[in-house]
């Protein structure tokens, strides 16, 4: 195993005159969850389809699990698990039958296949539905089955292409939990998503793609910190003390727009200085009704990089 289970250099894919992926460089570390974040049409799925050998690159190169995706695609396929954007599941088959088919496709023997099928069905909570046709499964059940199918052969690298798109919050949380467990067990995960919350919750490192290019890369915290100071919002319960509060807060950072009756500043130093702010307000006798600190979000990172907000930015947040 190389130190980078997934690495790409100058990866390009063109469809006629359209350049869907315009020269991507990335290196995924062993054992991490790598988030590939971007809006619809940014080039996420095209990149994944190249990395999983479903699409030949127009330029550049990539290695997955140490194997060149063009020169040795079969070795790549042997090493990876793939759950693509639209769960490609035959609705006429049962979960059990699909898992057994998948096991044969990956070269497992009859006995091993039966054991593995049973284990995976239990793991994803589908034992009771194992002999039901997949067409009768809910969206969440189909996603969990798709995940189980991708795990049949214990892959080194797991590619999850928008694994929670269209799922209800409960199902989404269940998928997140399973991804965390898999990662804790040592599986490297390459996760594409258009959901900020998903990338933030799961990924140790993120690459943000827009218009076929990676525009930011790093761990979510550093990316957000790089955007700027978090915003501190203070609601003063006595209107007469507003100007005093404003003066106090001005010593901690630059004032930012806020709702009527509230004050906001960019808090230099972040959460570490929150206690100082509270003490200073108290020393001046400012009665505080409400105080909150908002860190920059990945949407702010995306906006900082592209000048646009990420489409559907908050639609994945579980309630």
């Amino acid at each position: 195993m190389t130190s980078h289970p997934v690495e790409a250099t100058g990866l390009v894919r063109r469809f006629g005159d359209l350049t869907a992926v315009a020269g991507i460089d990335l290196a995924v570390e062993e054992g991490e969850i790598f988030g590939f974040l971007g809006p619809n049409g940014a080039g996420k799925s095209t990149t994944v389809r190249m990395l999983v050998t479903l699409l030949r690159p127009s330029g550049g190169s990539a290695r997955v699990a140490g194997h060149d995706i063009v020169k040795n695609p079969t070795a790549v396929r042997r090493a990876i698990g793939v759950a693509l954007q639209d769960a490609a599941i035959d609705p006429l088959m049962t979960g059990n039958e699909l898992l057994r088919l998948q096991a044969v496709l990956h070269g497992l023997g009859r006995k091993e296949s039966a054991t593995r099928t049973s284990d995976l069905l239990e793991r994803v909570g589908l034992t009771a539905a194992a002999d039901r046709r997949v067409g009768q499964y809910s969206g969440g059940m189909r996603r969990r089955l798709d995940l189980a199918l991708a795990l049949v052969h214990r892959p080194m690298v797991l590619f999850l292409d928008e694994p929670t798109t269209g799922l209800d919050p409960t199902s989404r949380l269940a998928v997140w939990e399973e991804v965390r467990i898999l990662n804790a067990e040592g599986t490297t995960v390459f996760l594409t998503t258009q959901y900020l919350e998903e990338a933030d919750q799961l990924a140790g490192r993120i690459a943000i793609i827009d218009d076929g290019r990676i525009v930011r890369e790093g761990d979510p915290r550093s990316l957000k910190e790089a955007v700027g100071d978090p915003t501190l919002r203070v609601e003063v319960s006595d209107a007469a003390m507003m100007e005093t509060a404003r003066a106090v807060l001005a010593t901690f950072g630059e004032e930012r727009p806020a709702r009527v009756g509230r004050l906001a500043i960019g808090l230099a130093g972040g959460a570490g200085r929150l206690a100082d702010v509270v003490r200073a307000l108290d020393d001046q006798g400012v009665p505080v009704a409400h105080i909150e600190l908002d860190s920059p979000s990945l949407d702010d990172v995306f906006a900082d990089a592209t000048g646009r907000r990420l489409e559907g930015a908050n639609s994945a947040q579980p309630e």
Binding site: V52, T53, L54, L55, R56, A65, V70, P73, T74, A75, R77, R78, A79, I80, V82, L84, D86, A88, I89, D90, P91, L92, M93, E97, R100, L101, Q102, V104, L105, H106, G107, R133, L149, H153, R154, P155, M156, A184, E185, G186, T187
Partner: protein, 265 residues
Amino acid sequence: MRSPTPRTDPVSAFGPTVFEIGRRSLIRIVRMPAILVPTIVMPVFFVIGFTGSFEGVTRIEGFPTEDFINWVGPYALVQTAAFAGIGAAGTMATDLDNGFIDRLLVAPIRRSAIIFGPLAYTAMRALIPITLVLLLSIPQGGSLPGGLLGLFIAVVGGMGGALMLGSMGLAVVLRIGHIRAMAIVQIVAFAFLFPSIGQVPLPLLSGWLHTVARFNPATNLIRMTRQGFIGDVSWAETWPGLLVIAIGLGVFTGWARYELDQRAP
């Protein structure tokens, strides 16, 4: 903590893979038996309908048998088996539509298994109309002077027609990428089977139809399939049919494989 333990053999075994892909299509039939309605109705229509309507045609001079069922039965066998073979393309079209093909393409299997799996299913499916035609021919007065060898050759002819049409269907569907491609395959199948010696012997055909039928590969296939129903089996009438099957299968499976490779490297 578990470390991932990937298998190291380069590709999964060919035989079990083909078997499982073919088995999946058979499962689809069990779950959705309506798929088989045309496969069952066509032989009945051909054997009973045609025999009743055209029985007198054998009195025309030049017909090599007095029993029309012995003439039309083998044609029905080839035609209905061939159309049953197109079903393989239907499964592939569905897989392209719903993305299941991607599951097969990212598996470490030989690409040819993705072609031969549906063809294995085609062979099984073709047995339905072949058996039906043979069974329905008996009460219609059908006989088999060519004996068991004639029966075997007839089954080979029907199966060959099914596999050729099946592999052509796979190629066309993979080329076009949509279930609408099935209509093209059916038209092409008719275009081959109709201007042949299916309904009337070659000497009784005239004009362009005679010329086309003479060189139409379907003529050799039907002649091979039919020989045991109207006389003894001979190598002279067998090898051209086998050659048609061999060339047809080679060309169409090669084409299908090429189209599959165009979908993923």
